[in-house]
């Protein structure tokens, strides 16, 4: 009892002294602007003290790394045990070229593959479709058939290296992931041996990257859940979804929206898979997350920490998960492409390094650092290597790996984490009250939220409220670019030729039967993935599979404006 009175006395004294300092000492100095806030608009005070963390119950709210609520990290040892995976994104041109880049990055010390696909592949189009001739091989590697997939991973031990397939949208994922699995089977590997991640996020298809025609939200969501269900039953070490908050952020949303939207997506998936009869702990350990690292260092750190606490609470209280791995928010981070500038591009090396620092101080499981030329072109070998070296310098030279959650207990970081958490919870409740994320997409609410935040961001840059070095301050007029830009290899002719050969050489009856089996699976509302893994072995193309799905489910025009 005496202890409590002493504590209360000390707190009262601190409050009084702080007030005095704030008014008499701090107040007698001028600040350089009228208000300070995070990138998402959370107000920031001049100083944080124990008063700001007085409500925190250490054991309940923070705890220990590797223990609930996992806010201080999902592993007990974090980077003292194993450092984050250096997973650099790569993909361009035909599969032969990208295969060489994968091998180059692995030789240079990358510890995972992060494969990105070209625009037509991501949208479910073949390279010879009349809509796509200008985009083949751009933004990623072109994959049309299982033969392309074989070439892409030729000479790479896919039973040893963890591979992330950045398939973005379900319509792409269902074919591309099936080709990856079927290729492994044809090499004589068991699906049990495969480790990796696929993106497979329905929000990507319906709200974030959108194409001339996309699957309606409900259908896209169903296809996404099919892949999760299939992997849960057949590919137990595969992460069948990576909720792509990174891309939501690139499209314009704020840090708290990013976390709220990924968690709302996860809630929808959990509800659907439970409805299908799966036990929460059979699939939840393999749900994974992909977040952005943007400019505001402390807001980003608070974001990662808050995400772990909110997720833990929801998985436990709402879904009754008991496997510790179901309760852990595990995530990959990519540094923010949208924060890079085309002006004075070498400045982006510094930006991306700060972004990566926030990811590591926030406890990321794997990181991709953007290359300095990404606001201008696909990364060159030199810019990709510099990005990988940025990770290696951060890991090996700065000492940030020496202790777990080094900012835990900081009055400021804990206070900001709490504020971030409250805002994330508020947005999740708002989505819940609309009937969940699929409804929020159908009515265009998500699109409007993201577009409004993107517009505000631009307005803040224009007003000078948000300084961007080289863009609205410290500009160089008539700048001569100091770097060589990437020139993409010829892809269209190569892929067209391969598709022609594929159509001629394959057994066309078998292929037609395989596509028919997909339609029949749609009709009985069965799980599509097993059927498609079999189908791609008959050398049906990605475009043929997508057209079959669109013929059944119809198409949708996202309400972007």
């Amino acid at each position: 009892m005496k202890q409590k009175t002493d504590d209360q006395k000390a707190a009262a004294r601190l409050k009084k002294d702080f007030k005095k300092w704030h008014t008499d000492i701090y107040g007698s100095h001028k600040e350089r602007k009228p208000h300070f806030q995070t990138l998402s608009g959370i107000a920031i005070e001049p100083l944080y003290t124990p008063l700001d963390t007085a409500n925190i119950d250490y054991l309940k709210d923070l705890g220990f790394p590797g223990c609930e609520p996992y806010i201080r990290g999902v592993h007990p040892t974090m980077y003292r045990g194993r450092v984050w995976t250096h997973r650099q994104l790569a993909g361009f041109g035909p599969p032969e070229e990208t295969n060489n880049r994968y091998k180059f990055l692995l030789q240079q010390g990358a510890t995972g593959i992060n494969g990105v696909f070209d625009y037509p592949t991501l949208r479910g189009y073949d390279s010879d479709d009349p809509e796509v001739y200008a985009d083949v091989g751009r933004g990623g590697v072109a994959i049309d058939t299982i033969e392309d997939m074989r070439v892409l991973f030729d000479g790479i031990a896919i039973d040893k290296v963890s591979v992330s397939l950045v398939t973005c949208q379900p319509i792409c994922n269902i074919s591309i992931q099936s080709m990856y699995f079927a290729n492994a089977q044809q090499k004589g590997l068991s699906l049990n041996a495969l480790t990796g991640t696929s993106q497979n996020d329905f929000l990507m298809e319906t709200a974030i990257t959108t194409a001339p025609s996309v699957l309606p939200p409900k259908a896209s969501f169903k296809v996404s859940c099919d892949a999760i269900e299939f992997c849960t039953q057949n590919v137990p070490r595969w992460n069948p979804i990576s909720f792509a908050g990174y891309n939501y952020r690139e499209a314009g949303c704020t840090a708290p929206q990013e976390v709220a939207f990924v968690i709302s997506c996860a809630i929808a998936c959990c509800e659907e898979l439970i409805r299908r009869g799966l036990d929460i702990d059979s699939f939840a350990p393999r749900l994974s997350y992909f977040l952005s690292a943007h400019n505001d260092l402390f807001e980003e750190i608070a974001k990662y920490r808050a995400a772990r606490r909110v997720y833990h609470r929801i998985m436990k209280a709402r879904f009754g998960a008991t496997d510790p791995r179901s309760l852990m928010f595990r995530f990959h981070v990519q540094t923010a492409g949208v924060a890079l500038t085309a002006q004075q591009p070498l400045n982006n090396i510094a930006r991306a390094a700060y972004h990566a620092l926030s990811a590591v101080l926030g406890g990321a499981q794997s990181v991709h650092v953007d290359a300095y030329d990404e606001a201008l072109c696909t990364p060159t070998e030199l810019s990709s290597l510099t990005a990988l070296r940025t990770q290696q310098i951060l890991q090996m030279e700065t000492g940030v790996t020496n202790t777990v959650d080094p900012l835990g207990g900081s009055y400021f970081v804990e206070s900001l984490t709490n504020k971030m958490e409250a805002e994330v919870e508020r947005i999740i409740s708002e989505i819940d009250s609309m009937g969940g994320i699929v409804k929020a997409v159908e009515k265009g609410w998500i699109h409007n939220e993201i577009a409004s935040a993107a517009y505000q961001y631009q307005v803040d840059i224009e007003s000078g409220e948000m300084p961007i070095v080289g863009v609205n301050c410290f500009k160089i007029e008539d700048e001569v670019l100091p770097i060589e830009l990437f020139k993409g290899p010829e892809t269209l002719l190569i892929q067209e030729e391969k598709l022609k050969r594929n159509r001629k050489d394959r057994n066309s009856q078998e292929a037609a039967k395989a596509l028919d089996a997909i339609t029949r699976c749609c009709e009985r509302d069965g799980n599509l993935m097993g059927v498609i893994v079999d189908a791609v072995k008959t050398r049906v193309t990605e475009g043929e599979i997508s057209k079959t799905l669109k013929a059944f489910y119809g198409i949708w025009h996202p309400p972007l404006f």
């Binding site: 189009y125 009349p130 200008a134 985009d135 500038t341 085309a342 072109c377 996202p558 404006f561």
Partner: protein, 128 residues
């Protein structure tokens, strides 16, 4: 006072990035223009809608690298249809060396990454 400008905003081909096009579309609307936003289209579809909607300007957006193929095609199809009074402008990720090439191909204005909204609005207002 001149009449309100009507502008069609489209994303070229398979380009995945809508942020820039939607932010610009909102800014133009706020600046008093009539904006028709059609999302991703190929050149034929873009020109068809532009003519149907009797727009003054087509604003093209792409960050995918397809601009050197598709943006000039829009200009050529407008000519073929006798609608080359419609001006074409472009915004997106463009290597600096492509800017003069796009202008030669008949694109009136090219806006690279980091261009201010004000600059875009002023440029559109000064197109006759």
């Amino acid at each position: 006072m001149s009449k309100r400008k009507r502008i069609l905003i489209a994303r070229l081909g398979m380009d995945a990035h809508w942020r820039g096009s939607v932010v610009v579309a909102r800014a133009l609307r706020d600046a008093g223009m009539e904006v028709i936003y059609i999302g991703n289209q190929m050149p034929e579809g873009i020109v068809r809608t532009a003519i149907q909607e009797s727009v003054d300007i087509i604003g093209l957006s792409s960050l995918s690298g397809n601009h050197m193929i598709l943006a000039p095609e829009v200009v050529q199809i407008l000519k073929r249809e006798g609608a080359d009074d419609i001006k074409v402008i472009f915004g997106g990720t463009v290597p600096p060396e492509d800017i003069p090439l796009l202008k030669e191909a008949g694109i009136s204005e090219v806006f690279g990454p980091g261009t201010s909204l004000k600059k875009i609005i002023d440029a559109i207002n000064s197109l006759d």
